[in-house]
Amino acid sequence: MTYQEALETLEKCRYCLMCRHADPLSHVSFNEALTPHGIALTIYSEHKGLLSWNEDSLRTVFSETDAGVARSHCATDQPFSEAVSAVKSELLSQGKMPETVARLKERLEQTPSFFGDAEFKSALEQNDYALFISDEMQYLWPESVNAVNTLIKALTLSPAEITRGKSSGFLALSLGFMEQAKKQAKQLMTELEAVKAKELIVLSQTDLYTCRHVYAERLGLSFPEEVKVTSLLALLTQAYKNGKLSFKPSADTRPYAYIDPSQALRVKDFDSPRHLLGAILPGNQVELFWRKERTHPTGSGSTWFSNPELAEKLTRARLEDAQKQGAEVIYCEDSADLSQLNRYAADYGLELKGLYELLADHLG
């Protein structure tokens, strides 16, 4: 989407307030300027000469992660996420960005991931299945890596690993670094082609959304149509339902909640994780108020880089919700979300556990 096309969408959002009820940023900041309407009005007002770009107005725009919630709840299906990305990208190309993002830019130019720079050499041998272990899992919640391998083995699969420890490009995209996002995406796709996989297994809803939609629809790349992208959770659920996989029930009777990951609304597979949790921990699941269709991000995405205070508020809001609903343990499979929740979970007396670890530990 070009800047000009973005303005056409923002022209509509500027005069619309219809995703406010679901909007996470204003829900935790109570700030009108951080609603899609407010962000659109800010951008539009600069365009009309009523505001200038400065640290404050830039921060408003860059605080928006990728507007997945607004996009999903939009009354008229406006591509608000795409519009905000396009504006960020235009601003970056003019060298306009808040200080927090400027610091990131430098880092991104030096390393391929925000989180680490270890080199994992993939064998890239031909295989019907490919597996993508992202930089987020590798660096932010590494304990999931072994669990994932155990679970994959239980499915009797031995996929070829591709771009291990690298980013899918989503984070760069959501900050407006389009070229970096494309570079990361192409690397993943090149390795995918090299192994000639028919199915790519991904470990987070973000990666599922990125491979299924972002590459083609937002980065203009042609993701190989013949490759099916599947989440490990969906594969496990299917195997469990077919009786090919079983889990031992846990003796833990404490009330627990599942935290829908930040990008859950992009994919809307709300059932798989709940189904699997129910197999191990039947009966004591509580639901958050901000769940499923109205789930909120945990603050793990680009907001953590562009506006850490706001990210912290998002995280705390999820934890408060869990505490209020009476949960003592919380589960999630997304590594970035886990690492973000982990920063403050103890403040709420909550024990945080990786869903993959739970599943691997209870394989029947």
Partner: protein, 480 residues
């Protein structure tokens, strides 16, 4: 314009109350808070003109903090503008004289759901849909469904006396409130009696309904709930004559068939709006009727209503177009199907008795269409909130090519409003039915109330002697 130390003094005093995280005077935030959903200020920005922004935006977390803020405002004699969701269409939350923008959205808690009495007590800054989600968890509903529920707040429902889609059966927001907590302009915090239907003196709580932030800040409200209905039935009808359709509506409500909805579009609306949003090309007056609750009772009520309509010559279009309307009822208001710039438009809704409604509608239509012919004005209307004694007409004027110059556009806009409101007042109607007064209709208040207006002014002066509360709105003047 305040210069020197004072702005910083005020800022630091406000910051002391709410904390640094909940006060701002940043340029971009001030711009966003400089307009609500009123066409005029939106047009102003659209044409690249500057609006008067608030000087400070504060987000208090308690009634006590609000009380302290009002005391500061009184000592410096600066305006305070309560801001809920900013979705008001009348300019009620526009800070025309600057001052303190009091965003109440941090007061967003559900305090109690009483499942036996069917009431909810919540803080006034809670978002409408979020409140509905909370009561839905108990299989209950707050039967106030405005098209703006996604963006409006509970306080914003009450302060301008809003009305929702199903008001014909369940009443307006004001009919659903049992009691409120209000922070008065001098900082006193009061609670109105726990229930409204008593004989223990005047129901002064009604004073705050319709006060639009000019008499105090609503901080909590106890609202009546209902069970989520077992069924909702909708049906569409087509009348070849608006008068017969209005008579059908009158009979349905006066015979107390308890319709949830009677939405009657005039012929022009049917041809334009209904076609654009729902895709039906009907020639006539399109009416949707709805019934809800117990399946047997709703079915019987529907059957009786259909027979009234049949006797008046209506064509029964069946369920599908009725249900489609319910599904898409809010699409009429959103982009891209709703109204948009650079058009000029306004909703000149009014309410009156059954005896006057046709007269009012045609008088207003004739006045607007004939006076602004040169601007190719469109006047469309529908009748949507029905009472036992009358109904309201939700009419709109639309000009697709208004003057480009913002100042000329403002003049034309205000002239059309003068014409439309005069027609309403001269034909037994009120300045409006549910959008409130705000800035837009402020100048008509004296005329509407006649002899009673000085009493209202005296009340305002007694409660808010410095005139700090939302100055320039609801007919009241500026800060003294």
């Amino acid at each position: 314009m305040r210069t020197g130390l004072v702005p910083d003094m005020i800022y630091s005093e406000l910051e002391e109350i709410v904390g640094a995280a909940y006060i701002s005077n940043s340029e971009s935030e001030k711009l966003v808070y400089s307009t609500d959903w009123f066409w005029l200020p939106q047009m102003w920005l659209d044409r690249g003109e500057q609006l008067r922004p608030p000087d400070y935006i504060v987000r208090p977390g308690t009634s006590e903090e609000i009380a302290e803020i009002l005391k500061i405002a009184n000592s410096y004699k600066i305006p305070v503008i309560p801001w809920g969701g900013g979705s008001g269409s009348q300019g009620g939350a526009v800070p025309i004289f600057g001052g303190i923008m009091l965003d109440v959205k941090r007061l967003n808690k559900v305090l109690e759901i009483d499942e036996r009495s069917l009431t909810v007590t919540a803080q006034a800054g809670i978002n409408g849909t979020q409140l509905e989600w909370a009561v839905n968890e108990k299989n209950l509903t707050l039967p106030h469904y405005p098209a703006s529920a996604n963006c409006a707040t509970l306080g914003g429902y009450l302060a301008p006396r809003g009305s929702g889609t199903i008001s014909t059966k369940y009443g307006k927001a004001e009919d659903l409130v049992l009691s409120m907590q209000v922070v008065l302009p001098n900082g006193e915090i009061i609670r109105t009696p726990k229930v409204p239907n008593h004989a223990g003196g005047p129901d002064f709580y009604r004073l705050f309904l319709g006060s639009e932030g000019t008499l105090g800040v609503i901080t909590e409200a106890t609202m009546q709930l209902d069970y989520l209905p077992e069924v909702r039935l909708f049906r569409a009808l087509l009348f070849d004559d608006l008068a017969k359709a209005l008579e059908a509506g009158r009979l349905i409500v006066t015979k107390r068939l308890e319709p949830t909805v009677i939405r009657l579009y005039d012929q022009k609306s049917t041809l334009s709006q209904v076609k654009k949003v729902l895709g039906y090309a009907f020639d006539g007056a399109y009416m949707v009727i709805g019934f809800d609750g117990d399946p047997d009772i709703a079915a019987l009520q529907e059957q009786k209503a259909l027979s009234i309509c049949a006797n008046l010559g209506a064509q029964d279009l069946g369920r599908e177009p009725g249900e489609a309307w319910w599904q898409h009822r809010y699409d009429f208001y959103y982009p891209p199907k709703g109204l948009h710039f650079p058009w000029m438009y306004g909703t000149t809704e009014s309410v009156t008795t059954f005896s006057n409604i046709e007269k009012l509608y045609y008088a207003q239509k004739e006045a607007v269409e004939s006076s602004y012919k040169d601007w190719d004005v469109d006047y469309i209307g529908h009748f949507s909130h029905w009472f036992h004694w009358g109904t309201m007409v939700y009419s709109r004027f639309i000009i697709k090519n208004p003057p480009e110059d913002a100042h000329e556009a403002l003049k034309l806009h205000n002239r059309i409003w003068n014409t439309a409101v005069t027609a309403a007042l001269e034909n037994g109607g009120m300045v409006n039915e549910h959008h409130g007064v705000g800035l837009k209709l402020s100048r008509f208040m004296r005329r509407q109330y006649g002899d009673a207006w000085p009493m209202l002014e005296r009340l305002k002066n007694a409660l808010d002697p410095n005139g700090i509360m939302n100055p320039g709105k609801v007919g009241f003047g500026g800060v003294k």
